[in-house]
Symmetry: C2
Subunit: 708 residues, 2 copies
Amino acid sequence: MSPPFSRWSDPVLGTVDTQREHPGTSCPTDSQRRAPNLGDERAMMTSQGELRRKVKMGVRSDSWTQVSCPCCASDQVEPLVLIHLAPDVQPTTKKWIMSRIEAPEKDGGAALLAHPGEDRDGDIILVSAPRCTLLHVTEELGLCKLYEDGSMTPFSYQDRSSFKNIDDMQEFMTVAERQYVVKYELDSLRVQRDLYIPGLPEAKGLLRARGSIFQKLEKVGVIQAVIPLHDQSQLDSLAKAWYSGKQLWSQPLDSIQAYFGGSVAFYFSFLDFYTWALVPPALLGVVLVFLLPAGGAVAEAGKGDEDGPSVSGHMVQAVFSMLWSTLVMELWKRRSSSLSYRWGTLQLTERFAEPRPGYHGTMGYSPITGRLEPHFPSWQRNLRVGLVSLPVVGLFLGLVVLGIAGFYRGEALVKEVHEHRGSLFSAGLLYVPSLAHIVYVNFLGTVYSKVALALTEWENHREESSFQNHHTTKVLLFSFFNCFAVLFHIAFVKQDLPLLRKRLSSLLIVTQLVNQCTEVLVPFLVDRFLSSSEKNLKEDDPKVDKVRAQGSLPPFPGLFAEYIELLVQYGYLSLFSCVYPLTAVLLLINNVTEIRSDAFKICRLFRKPFSAPVSNMGVWQAAFEVLGFVSVISNCWLLLLSPRVKEFCQEAGYSSRNVLLFAILVEHVLILIKMILAFAIPDEPDWVRIKREEIEYHSLQAFNQQKL
Amino acid sequence: MSPPFSRWSDPVLGTVDTQREHPGTSCPTDSQRRAPNLGDERAMMTSQGELRRKVKMGVRSDSWTQVSCPCCASDQVEPLVLIHLAPDVQPTTKKWIMSRIEAPEKDGGAALLAHPGEDRDGDIILVSAPRCTLLHVTEELGLCKLYEDGSMTPFSYQDRSSFKNIDDMQEFMTVAERQYVVKYELDSLRVQRDLYIPGLPEAKGLLRARGSIFQKLEKVGVIQAVIPLHDQSQLDSLAKAWYSGKQLWSQPLDSIQAYFGGSVAFYFSFLDFYTWALVPPALLGVVLVFLLPAGGAVAEAGKGDEDGPSVSGHMVQAVFSMLWSTLVMELWKRRSSSLSYRWGTLQLTERFAEPRPGYHGTMGYSPITGRLEPHFPSWQRNLRVGLVSLPVVGLFLGLVVLGIAGFYRGEALVKEVHEHRGSLFSAGLLYVPSLAHIVYVNFLGTVYSKVALALTEWENHREESSFQNHHTTKVLLFSFFNCFAVLFHIAFVKQDLPLLRKRLSSLLIVTQLVNQCTEVLVPFLVDRFLSSSEKNLKEDDPKVDKVRAQGSLPPFPGLFAEYIELLVQYGYLSLFSCVYPLTAVLLLINNVTEIRSDAFKICRLFRKPFSAPVSNMGVWQAAFEVLGFVSVISNCWLLLLSPRVKEFCQEAGYSSRNVLLFAILVEHVLILIKMILAFAIPDEPDWVRIKREEIEYHSLQAFNQQKL
């Protein structure tokens, strides 16, 4: 057994006794954290459970920096995060970074454990978190944990002995949470005064007071990546349960949440929920197309351009689609809140935690938490959002419309030219508008994504979630506009239903084919190709090489692409479904494979992503709901345009003005019904509400009992 | 000086030592209230301040029932509430009621002070509240009070010495709050097991276990009224500052809040705010009508039926009205939340306090507060609201429409008959439809008001505010429909703008005249008449007779009529203002007198009402906001109908279908802008948000620090 207070023994740097550097640091505390007045005996006792754990990865604990409190001393340390440094990094820089990581919080450190890696290259640092840090951050984030009475209760460090599994960090927190704690602590590393980073040239090594250390280091290229490490055996068993085909009807959501964290788990939960929700419209579509006589002819998109489904079928589809989209989103909200309770994220306190690293402003003591932090007035942020971001986004959306207009104009022009001249050159010209439009759209997209990020950064959001929501909203609007502008143009301006039907069905089929290719075939091939390079690592290769290999995977591109794919699908379905009733069937087939391929992608093809604990889908929820409202308008309009309805009205002798007025009335009534429904269905199940109110009541009681 | 523990000495009932009846009750505590472990010395010390107070009404304290805790003993007691009993009530019943009032909470009493009155009739009980009860209920309701650091903080009994003015109940709580505390305690008086009320015949005296005592007593007629008492000198000075004409531009809102309580103060604050908000549309109206050449002709409603304002004036008015209504409501929300902070109602905890007396369900321990109380599942309530109340309300609205249709049909019929016959009888017939309609509407209104109350009662709401909101919504919808159905019919179905203009201006002028009559003249006359009877009481008459005289005033009819008047005004203004641009001017004139007459009414003509501490206008806020959205639709439509716009379009050669489509587009865009505006303007000022988050953070901290 190695002694509980291991010494820093680095092959490159030699032995440094950091205990001497920070004398008398017995526990990580900062102004924020109340001094944990636990008896040392009990602390030692509880850490016995931890000592008993065998950590899967056999990094010798004596290579780790020491823990700064005795209760966290442990024989085995679990490496959680890999910091990938530039190859040319100076040993002094690396040493300084490690010292920042392992310094206690009151000295402005991260109170984590660092390991220099076992090879001589010295371009990696492994980071782990001692028990005290894990517990303190759990409290700071407002995570709920299983209390002894079986309910999920906001974790309290003071009362930690009443929480279940408190002796066993691997049981108490999920691996995703432990890794997020490390990221949270690394992100909140700041310097107290202006400082030159050791080992860097003066020109780029200057760190301003209260600047984020890791942000700076990433900017100057010292840190290349911060990667949460995979746990191979856990990953293998998760992958087996997830996409190996055994469980066809469900996904192991709890295991996903434990391993990949909240935001990933919420995506897959929604995907699951949404796929099941597609069953009723798919059934309806099948009934309308194959079983009712009138609609039979339009089943294949290619033929039957002239007729649509029967009037009654059309109406049924439109009203059903409206009710369905409302119900799905309301039920999802209830599901979402019960998942959030189960995963302990119902009471997140992000607004009281450390601000995100990029947040800046005049330094001052927060009137709320009393902590020293930057302050940026929210009215100023609102002004920036309203007077700059909004117009800029509007401008770009205008440019998209302009592009489409230009494309149509150009197409008409070259057609005319071709008809006049009829030469080979003019035939080639026919392709120019399409090509120009594609180039234009891509260029616009690239510029916009940069602008959106810069704008959101400039808006200076305090919370990461708020930043993400604003950024997502911007990109989302643009992507959505890009996808649907043409369809809306066809539906509302050209008013050409057959063309819309053609476009929609070809889009659906093309999307599906492209999806199947990029998400199933390519990953499969890549895996074959990649896994061979991975298999070069033999069983007995050093663990460190395996760790290092994870850094060679491409970074996870984020869930944006996945969500927008779902949203666009949902858009096809709810906005235009009455034009092409089989949409839901195609989407259902697509999603069943989508679940598997997304799971495979995140497990095998990319680095593991950090994933913050979240309590819902954030802005995506709102996006789906807004789409529901737009779909009412769109369906009413499509109903109005449908040739059958036109015919029907002409036969009955209604004037087109009256029909239009009637459609407006129906639209307003449907929107009213939708709002009443959304209002009447509670957003959380009763039992979640009771649990939440219980916690609120207890904290009120606590507030009243304390002396301020 | 009388001894601090006064004995019950009633001229009718004789002396009863209730201290002996409840031995060892040193302080009012119930399962809910933590035993206040204050040192007795300090408690006696702080009550010295109270002893020093001279209460304005010289009821000898030795006629009061004794206080059950030593710290609340006082020489002078302030009578707060008058309970008016039936004249034939038995002395044993009265004695039993008083014993319930003065028993400590742990014995199921109200922990208040009761006084039998000084005359021999014995049909009144005066009630006051000792300091401990006042403070405990303040905490239970979640009222904020001035903390020593100058911020409004939720009152904590434990930490009471840190609050300002804690030694002086008259300063610490407003008189309205003290009276509400008495009502709250009386309402929560319940019996623990089945019991026959002493002195009542068995047939009607049975009180079921957990039944509300006061509800039962009022039902069987033992209690005729529970009236908060006026404080004449305070009332006089308030009245002087309020409506005696000195302060023309502002109302003493804080004094109103202190004397009449939260809901009344919020009504007058809104009236004030809204009247100021009328200035811009009034100016615009004046400019459009008198200064712009095109609109000049329509200034008088009687002539110029054929032309409306110019197109551009029309547009300006419509867009302005849309923006104005949004801004007014958003700014009011901000004002409302800062008032709520100032008045300490930002953190009300009604859902954790005692349920309203009428609430029933299976008895059980609440999972939230742990208190024994009835439980009624909320899904069942939602079902009742959705499946019964909603259709019933819809039915009545349908009956209103039916009535209008019937009226028009009948009118057409009698006109035809008159034209055919032309006799005196048929001329008399012309009045029948109007009369029948008036009778029908009144009958419907009477039935509906009963049905609405019964339905809301049957929905079984736990909180008083929720009950009020549901009840108000029901009555509101009906009243609003009654007012506007005819106007909507003219605008949307008949599409007859000149008639609409005529109706609107005559409604406005008639409403004003009726208002001036009923709210200024009648009150003035009534006051002359009433005050003479009041003046029969000479200066040296017993105080008790003066108190009793307050019971002879009619009960305050509530704020509903006042709010609906404002809402209807606001409806005229925002829904149809572009038809009659001078609306705002007329309303502005009306409101300036309205403020004075409403103030006079509440001060002089009615009993003082109980008024719960509230944090906003409740459902009225939503009603005004919804009206804002409806107004966009209505304005777009009126714009479309305007003859000038029609002319303009015909000249420009747009087809009516395209104009209609354009109007729809404009409507949707305006609603979108409205929603974005409402979303972008924060509902509370930044400083209120910070204060609120500060409290949330502290209670989180307290939660984390305690052991559950």
